[in-house]
Amino acid sequence: MEKQNDAVKGRPIVRYHKIAKVFGDQQVLTDIDLDIFPGEKVALIGPSGSGKTTLGRLLVTLERPTSGTIEVNGELLWHKSVNGQLLPADEKHLRRVRGQIGLVFQQFNLFPHMSILQNVMEAPVHVLGMSKGEAKEQATAMLNKVGLGHKLESYPRQLSGGQQQRVAIARALVMRPKVMVFDEVTSALDPEMVGEVLAVLKEIAAEGNMTMLLITHEMAFAREVADRVIFMDGKIVEQGSPNDIFVNPQNPRTNAFLSRFRQA
């Protein structure tokens, strides 16, 4: 069943095990088992409300699983194992494990009271304890990489949506996470700005070593960048290589979902 890209092997860097998530009386995720390997680019596709965003948010502790466990790099995220018993993890443990994960939001969520440079420097200085000089150097380098080196002193409101999202990507990357979650990062953008953000993502993907979980509605992008595509609808319906999913889907629900994009 599990088709992995031949290049990715070894111990999974992220392991979802029997994950369920219930909001009120609505079961959003059911019995999710998913291993993601170092360097792998995994695209999560599926209809709205299929739980793909929730799956990403669980990994950065923005949501708490109703049941099941998540491991990051071999370590439990939400739990601590004490004498073989699983106990809820405290804030200190959460922060340590979560430090390996980065996430970019659909709505950017930049800090409006800080300049672009300050946005990107904030966490390196105050979370990693980096000196201001070094943080500035790294933040500037990262902003150059996303093509915004000339906007360092601007404030978020002075930038277009596409530019803001690129700042948000730089802000996440400067923390050097092992795994990056991109949560529908182009969905809030005007159509003409989608391209510039996808170009940045493709560049990051091409560097190879970053593990990426891409939650997206951009099918062409998923097909081009992903090693593995997962179609989900509350549970994992079908997964495989981009070719398997986009050309030759086995499950009728996958087919029905993709047919809407084929027509477009």
Partner: protein, 215 residues
Amino acid sequence: MQPPFDILPALLRGVWVTLELTFAAACLAFVISFVVGFGRMSKHLPLKILAAAYTEFFRGTSLLVQLFWVYFVLPLLHVNLTALQSGILILGLHFGAYGSEVVRSAMMAIAVGQTEAGIVLNMKRSQIRWRIILPQAFMIMIPTFGNNLIELLKATALVSLITLKDLMFQGTMIQNTTMRTTETFGLVLMIYFCLAYPLTLGVRWIERRITVGRA
């Protein structure tokens, strides 16, 4: 000086007390606003209840009765405060209760996405509160704090009833001795306006600055 301005020097002596009282009470109210406002948002339940009880008590009872209590009743319990101390204390506590609501609602008005961005960057809860939420919330607080400051200035007139020689007290004294009621209270009214109006203009100026920055 020509009447009615011959009574002006005596009134101005009271202005100084009014300003002193306003300034000291405003400082106290500012600190209390944050301490109690944060208390109301605490995860610690007893602290939360205590802060809420404080706010509801001081909002829900008369300022004048509170002043009388501290100045006339506490001495019976062997707690003696001067009129000035009583005035500063009660005005500070009273307006601090209103201020705590300003702090709380402004902090809650900041989008949840800001907190989430802080969590994802692995910031501590306290860092998120102080470095992300508070600076943004403070911008929302400033106009309301400004209005409360104007209210506080005008409310200081009540302390004349606990023998503090503020502007209102001086006016009352002059009226009692000269019977020049209209001129005296006319001047008192104008002086209060001259004190409050610059504050109003200041608040408006700050408000404009903020909206320009935010838009």
